[in-house]
Amino acid sequence: MISMRTWLAAAAMATALALPGALKVEAQGIPQNIPRKELLILENPEGTIKNAGWFNIWAINAGSQSNGLQQAALDTLWYIDPEKGIDGAWDNSLAAAKPEYNADFTEMRVKLRRGLFWSDGVEFTSADVKATVDIQVKNPNMRFSAVLANNVASVEAPDPETVIFKLKRPNSRFHANFTVRWGAIWILPKHVFEKVEDPAKFDFNKPVSLSAYTLHSFDPDGKWYIWQLREDWQRTSLGRFGKPGPKYLAYVDPGPPDKRVIAQLNNELDVIHDISPEGMFRLARDGKKSRGWFNGFPYGHPDPTLAGVIFNTQNEHLKNRDVRWALTLMIDVKAVVMAAYRGAATISAIAVPPTGIHPEAYHKPMEAWVRDFEIDTGKSKVKPYDPTVAKQITDMLRPSMGDQIPRDEKEIANSFGLGWWKQNPQAATELLERAGYRKQGAQWMTPDGKPFVLRLMVEGDLRPVMTRAGTMIVQQWRQAGIDARIDVAQGTLLTRRAAGDFDSFIGWSVETWGGHQDLSYFMDSWHSAFVAEAGKPQPLRNWQRWTHPELDKIIEDIRKIDFDDPKGVELGKDYVKLVTREMPLIPLMSYNVFTAMDHTYWTGFPTAENPYANPVTNWGNSRYMFVRLKPAN
């Protein structure tokens, strides 16, 4: 006889087993009533947006940018893809052609495309570009006011397709302000903003769009935004490349990295912006149709950003080039790469990111020079470069990662980089001794007889990969006899970086276009004119506060030549040689972003084999992938 209690237990178990199958379909809360074959779900790495209903990107630091606004709805004159681009890295977007400067770079003339329309049916013209400048110059508290007021004397729109910028001083790179590398100065709709009393306090909700998508709905609590393909998508600049695949885009906050992995394993997040290397390994193993930029190791997309150790060269010890080089030669980059990315990194010995066009423009052509580069320690002459470091990393990885680690030299160079500086304690010792430092037991002492203390600032769990790299470097410096200390800044890093309140930190001061060889994007801000005195805030990006007359000369020479002038590469090489000699920062590797793409519902994502766009979800440039995506069968 079966008791009632047994019956109840059996019924409860049967219900429990049946429920998952019954409820799984709508378990995690994907948008209601939108078929998955029409919907692409992407991560908004800004997370939950506090003032969700704010779409005025021209107001300073208000609202979200990467909630789809700059990827799906806004547009500007040009784009440079960090990869190869659909039709080349350079794309004339709202502009019909490249910018035309006069001889002394005090005037920039732009021809615009015709037949492009705002989502409310108003035609886009030169008046919108002029208004973008005039409104922001007139209202000094807007996002791009300072840049525009600083550069533009006047802007004219003589006809609907022509804009003429008169500049206050020669600037051969003024167009960079209207060229998307992640973001840029976006063009605003004159017909909307001219009716607004205070454009800095206008929320622009609902936004009028100039690109292929328009706002469908959003969460007032800032967790998600849904964008819908415009019916007249052909009347946008993206229409040149065909109809975008997804009818709807959802930019969502999926939560911390572990939840992003779960969401993609549940096929509820098509594109993850970034996760930890371990999360990527898990997806590669268990996500049946998930993959990263590379089909196997090292998975991540190398951003055109160079991660490295930034020295504060206003620090008494770090003013000395010998000390900076000694600290470099104490590092075993293989251990750093293994600690930070579990080996999934692309290393660079020179201060240019090893990604996009740069390996062809700088790394490979300069390989011979780097191999011959010599340091005179005073006691010996050493050639510190080891061209086999990337290969050594692959050899270390192969036992655990197997066949996915390439053997082909070209493939290794493409994925893992070339060589790096060989750890050389003897040369480091000789350099420190020449700088007046003495070893007392196992401890290095400064010239004035105190222990050599050096802090390395990291962001902590806000940026775990870089923190792991920093921790490994501190360990290596300590093993070499420096009293190195990890300095966890957490959220204060940005404030302390600007204030110069650090000895050294893990971060980046070198960011490039990626798809273009010109280095002025970051280098112009390294001119000595912009270096702040100790204790004063430093404008971006020369966080190392390093000055050198030769560097100023290179920067001034670049300012005098056209953006595409081949001389720019030669000047870029001069910069590489100078920075290699002086070592104001220790280049480590590109900033790899583990963007994971799930091919369950969509195919045609950009990859290392088909690098037509940058898939990293918060980049404005990621819009190009929408036109190549197709629903999976």
Binding site: I34, A59, I60, N150, N151, A184, I262, G491, P537
Partner: protein
């Protein structure tokens, strides 16, 4: 009655003083933050763009003016208090120019709903089961519950939250693991939205209830265990009074007084938000708002949330102090 009024006035004055000191402390601490909101904003605006260094100096000046950081500390302090008295905490620096009060107003209902529900359910369940376990000390099921409560009580609630997330979000994906409601639903008093909110709150609420129940359970069991040995309970048992009446009227009622105080303090504390639970489940409440504000150096928002929290806790304690003499005859007001 006169003595009660005197007591109430004195207690209210203490409340005002506590709130004043608390808000001032919060003001000093938030303004001592090493995070400069201007630099945070500049970094956010410029880190991905090509902004000329000379323009950044101008941007810095504009931001200081815009954020009202140019005046001296006395001017800023008096502006702050004049705003607090008008329940206006100024604009959020990290979501400029949205007013802090509107951000809190949007987040608060989520937190109040989630934590209010979790607190009351855990209090009711914990006290009921704890009372039973303290009275029926030989009952095996209640003993087992005691062991479970002891085991769960010391587990940090975020560990429970993570475990629930893995079990019900991934291994057995029954329930949503992020957000307050499903996407693309209109927020309001409509059935699909209400069902969605309820579904989204199950896991975060459960993570709080599982731990909360244990805590109330153990407290109540211990109180009841003491009361059952007191003379009036023993006499009632000897006199043959119905055990259910003894439990309800003689034991639980007496044991509840300190638990009610605890409940009032817990209800006051829910204005803080359950920071980690909200973070783990991506819940759009005050806790998430507070953490984001701290990282962004948005001290206007931190101050706003902290002030609401100080008021919540202080009001909770004030109310219970004022009510005690009225509901518990053992509490006497003395002048």
């Amino acid at each position: 009655m006169r003595s009660y009024l005197h007591y109430a006035l004195r207690r209210f004055a203490q409340f005002v003083l506590v709130v004043f000191i608390g808000i001032n402390l919060a003001y000093v601490i938030t303004h001592a933050t090493p995070i400069d909101p201007v630099e945070q904003s500049i970094a956010a605006v410029t880190s991905f763009g090509n902004t000329a260094p000379e323009a950044i100096a101008e941007m810095r000046r504009s931001l200081q003016e815009l954020y009202g950081l140019n005046g001296g500390w006395l001017e800023q302090y008096s502006t702050f208090w004049s705003r607090v008295l008008r329940a206006d905490f100024g604009p959020s620096l990290s979501a400029f120019p949205a007013p802090v009060s509107s951000l809190i107003a949007r987040a608060l209902p989520w937190t109040l709903g989630l934590l209010g529900f979790a607190t009351i359910v855990s209090w009711l369940l914990g006290n009921l089961l704890g009372g039973l376990a303290g009275y029926y000390q030989q009952n095996r099921s209640l003993k087992l519950l005691g062991v479970l409560a002891m085991a769960l009580h010391p587990v940090p609630y975020y560990i429970v939250a993570l475990a629930l997330m893995i079990v019900f979000g991934f291994i057995w994906p029954l329930l949503p693991i992020t957000g307050g409601s499903a996407m693309n639903l209109e927020q309001g008093w409509n059935l699909p939205f209400i069902i969605s909110v309820a579904k989204h709150s199950i896991l975060p609420a459960l993570s709080l209830i599982l731990i909360g129940v244990g805590s109330w359970f153990l407290g109540m069991r211990s109180l009841v265990s003491n009361i059952v040995t007191e003379d009036h309970v023993v006499y009632a048992e000897i006199a043959g009074v119905d055990p259910r009446r003894i439990l309800g009227s003689y034991v639980m009622r007496n044991a509840l007084a300190p638990q009610v105080t605890g409940l009032a303090m817990s209800l006051g504390g829910i204005f803080n938000g359950a920071v980690i639970t909200e973070k783990v489940f991506g819940y759009p409440g005050v806790g998430t708002l507070l953490v984001d504000a701290v990282y962004a150096g948005d001290y206007g928002l931190v101050l706003g949330v902290t002030t609401v929290s100080i008021l919540g806790v202080s009001l909770g304690v004030l109310l219970i102090d004022l009510l005690y003499p009225l509901i518990d005859p053992r509490v006497q007001v003395t002048t």
